[in-house]
């Protein structure tokens, strides 16, 4: 099998992905977009809510994908950025009374700054060491949110209840559906921006660092700047996702943003295909729906079933959704030739 051969010959680090292979073709993109736009009209509010969460986690996975797939840095600390974004939105909405839409760019900017600052010490670390440093961030975050010092704003362990926005301009649409389209627009915007970022000069610098740091710096790439920049961008997008998540779930509490979330996002990235941006949505679907499927198979052993399913995916399609997409494309190509 070609898949097996690829595994054997592949370098253990993040695999180099040519930038054209990072996105979908225009036709496929439009089909996916049409499906995402039309689907909510036909389903229940609960499904719309799940689709909203799918987009939100998709954004968070995308952010990690830019960091890992783009610049080759690992992070197990995405849940911390997600939490900061969620709390920023929740606090601004509930304590300051700000419009929900305005809180998102602020969440993004704060998280960008947070990520950029965190990226500074992270510069000295690489590979598994960096992963551990970010892991520490994820472990610390829920406890920081519980601190009595911040309690007036964060609500401590009790968390904060967030009011869900109604559709504006009297649109005849449920809160869930409005929030879905709102999220969809933001997701598409960030997706296009991310694709363009990776195609730009900065994106090429990210990838040069990923493929060979020394060569990149010899070519004149400011390695320190671009590594921290990648951290900042990734954290910023994760923060926006966190803010959207707070609005959709209508509640923030420290227990929602534990290390489990960071690992889920990491998992989503691997399952979707590292470095393949459209895979983010597939990875997001995996982390939302597969635990539910596992639970349906066995309640007591849901964790074990989930493990088996994950193992099967990694074993059969080690490159995740990207590999499936490539195989599908090849088969289509053959069909056309015949």
């Amino acid at each position: 099998m070609s898949a097996a051969e690829e595994v054997v010959t592949e370098a253990p680090a993040v695999e180099a992905v040519p930038k054209r292979a990072m996105t979908l073709g225009l036709g496929t993109s439009l089909v996916v977009l049409a499906a995402l736009v039309i689907a909510p009209v036909f389903v229940k509010n609960f499904i719309i809510f799940q689709m909203t969460m799918l987009l939100i986690y998709g954004l968070a996975v995308l952010a990690l994908n830019i960091l890992t797939g783009g610049s080759g840095q690992f992070s197990l600390g995405q849940s911390a950025f997600y939490a900061v974004g969620a709390y920023t939105s929740a606090i601004l909405m509930e304590h300051v009374g700000m419009n929900y839409a305005l809180t998102l760019p602020i969440a993004g900017i704060i998280c960008f700054a947070f990520g950029f600052v965190f990226g500074q010490p992270a510069l000295r670390l690489s590979g598994v060491y960096l992963a551990l440093a970010t892991f520490a961030l994820a472990v610390a975050m829920p406890q920081l949110l519980k601190l009595g010092f911040f309690e007036h704003w964060t609500g401590g362990v009790q968390g904060l209840v967030v009011t869900k926005p109604d559709a504006p301009f009297g649109l005849p649409m449920s809160q869930d559906m409005w929030l879905y389209y709102f999220t969809l627009v933001i997701t598409i915007g960030i997706y296009i921006a991310s694709v363009n970022l990776l195609r730009s000069r900065s994106g090429r610098a990210f990838m040069a660092i990923r493929d060979n740091e020394i060569a990149a710096s010899a070519m004149g790439v400011d390695v320190a700047l671009y590594k921290t920049l990648a951290f900042g961008v990734s954290a910023g997008i994760t923060g926006v996702a966190g803010g959207l998540g707070a609005i959709a779930v209508q509640f923030v509490a420290p227990d929602g943003y534990t290390i489990t979330l960071a690992i889920s996002l990491f998992l989503g990235m691997v399952v979707g295909g590292v470095g393949w941006l459209p895979g983010s949505i597939v990875g997001s679907a995996f982390i939302i729906f597969v635990p539910n499927i596992a639970e349906g198979i066995s309640k007591g052993l849901s964790g074990a079933v989930f493990g088996v399913l994950l193992f099967l995916v990694i074993f059969l399609v080690p490159h995740g959704a990207r590999q499936v997409a490539i195989v599908a494309q090849q088969m289509l190509g053959k069909l056309k030739k015949n």
Binding site: V157, Q158, G159, F251, I288
Partner: protein, 409 residues
């Protein structure tokens, strides 16, 4: 307009059921989730994640309803118990509860566990007018019939337990010098408030010290030393099990013998008293509302014999010293009672109405004398506890059953 008709029908139905069992005069009424043959009950509980030990409560409840179904169901209807895993994560709890309500279309959400998860779903369920019945958390805020008429607690709240300690101290040791050690979170603060409310005007003179610790601290020895320096003669320990054990051990090491009162949360023999050392634990006080399955004195108790029979048949192999088994049984029995009282009027409004009309109901697993009472203004089903003293290797109950009703507003 319907509601007045409905109320009339309720009273008729309740009266009919109360006086002539099996009378079919009452009109059949259903909301989503109930029918002639089935009542659909939803539940979320952590089966995975950090709090997965509580998953056993969900399994016990499932087994209990299986037993009910084997016996013919409730008023001829089978219980369909749908329980999902929320992994103790509020976002997951919202997703799973919405699935229960909008996809599975359950009649009520029963015994969802954890303060964060319940806070996350409370607004949603109340806006949809779906009962969030008998939540599995000790926070006091669930008893708020005005603000959240569709949410009801079950177990005694932390505040009512603390009030019971205050009442005990006022009676037995009115000149006590009290020091309070509490965990700096909602759990500890609820206890602190309950104690102060219970002591009333005497709180400021009796409490000589309030010392808090963070759950992230590795040890609380320094706090104990600090408290001892103030020389109180009563130490109230509002700590989670690990810190509870540390406190008992440290006071003994210091050769200090105040009267120690331990929260019910950390009254476990296996998890607290034994690690702290049985010698050190002698004379520690606490309060309880349920029977301890590991305690030999309930061997021939009719209620616990029924529980034991249930365990044999429906949950063979489970570790019987786990208090989750007693808890789940009692909660499920309370719901079964409410559904029975609903008769043929299985609307969500009637479920809440009946849940708020429990009078002196006693599940098999509660201590003799502890009774469940609710009303339109009291959404705290269990608010009685009995004091207990640690002697030998187990708790000995003493004194009367004490009430500590607390309303949120």
């Amino acid at each position: 307009m319907l509601s007045t008709l409905r109320t009339a029908a309720f009273s008729a139905a309740v009266a009919a059921i109360a006086f002539t069992p099996g009378n079919a005069l009452a009109q059949k009424k259903y909301d989503t989730g109930a029918s002639d043959t089935e009542i659909k009950i939803g539940n979320i509980i952590p089966y995975s994640g950090p709090a997965s030990a509580y998953g056993l409560i969900g399994k016990t409840e499932e087994a209990y309803f299986k037993m009910i179904n084997d016996k013919g169901g409730i008023n001829g209807r089978k219980i369909n118990f749908v329980s999902y895993d929320d992994a103790y994560s509020p976002p997951k709890a919202v997703e799973q509860v919405r699935k229960l309500v909008e996809s599975d279309e359950v009649l009520v959400v029963f015994n969802p566990l954890g303060t964060p998860s319940n806070t996350a779903i409370q607004k949603y369920l109340n806006s949809k007018k779906i009962p969030q019945l008998f939540v599995a958390t000790g926070a006091t805020k669930w008893n708020d019939p005005k603000g959240f008429p569709w949410t009801m607690g079950w177990q005694p709240s932390y505040q009512s337990e603390a009030q019971i300690y205050a009442k005990y101290l006022l009676k037995e040791k009115p000149d006590a010098k009290i020091a309070i050690l509490y965990q700096n979170d909602d759990f500890g603060k609820d206890y602190l408030k309950g104690t102060k409310d219970g002591l009333g005007a005497k709180a400021s003179s009796m409490i000589i010290m309030e010392e808090s610790y963070e759950v992230s601290e590795p040890t609380i020895d320094s706090h104990i030393v600090k408290i001892k320096a103030a020389n109180p003669d009563v130490l109230l320990i509002y700590a989670t099990p690990k810190f509870g054990a540390q406190t008992i051990k440290k006071t003994a090491e210091l050769g200090w013998k105040p009267l120690q009162i331990m929260t019910n949360v950390s009254a476990s023999v296996g998890a607290v008293m034994q690690p702290a050392g049985f010698d050190n634990s002698q004379g520690v006080l606490s309060a309880a509302y349920a029977k301890d399955a590991a305690d030999a004195q309930w061997k021939s108790d009719p209620g616990m014999m029924k529980w034991s029979e249930f365990m044999d048949k429906y949950m063979p192999g489970a570790d019987r010293t786990d208090s989750a088994l007693v808890y789940g049984y009692g909660a499920a029995q309370t719901l079964a009672k409410v559904l029975e009282m609903c008769g043929d009027d299985l609307t969500r409004a009637n479920v809440m109405k009946q849940a708020a009309s429990l009078k002196d109901f006693t599940p098999d697993t509660l201590l003799p004398g502890v009774k469940i009472n609710t009303s339109a203004t009291d959404f705290a089903p269990i608010s009685q506890l009995q004091m207990q003293r640690f002697k030998g290797e187990k708790w000995e109950l003493f004194g009367e059953i004490i009430s500590g009703d607390v309303a949120t507003h």
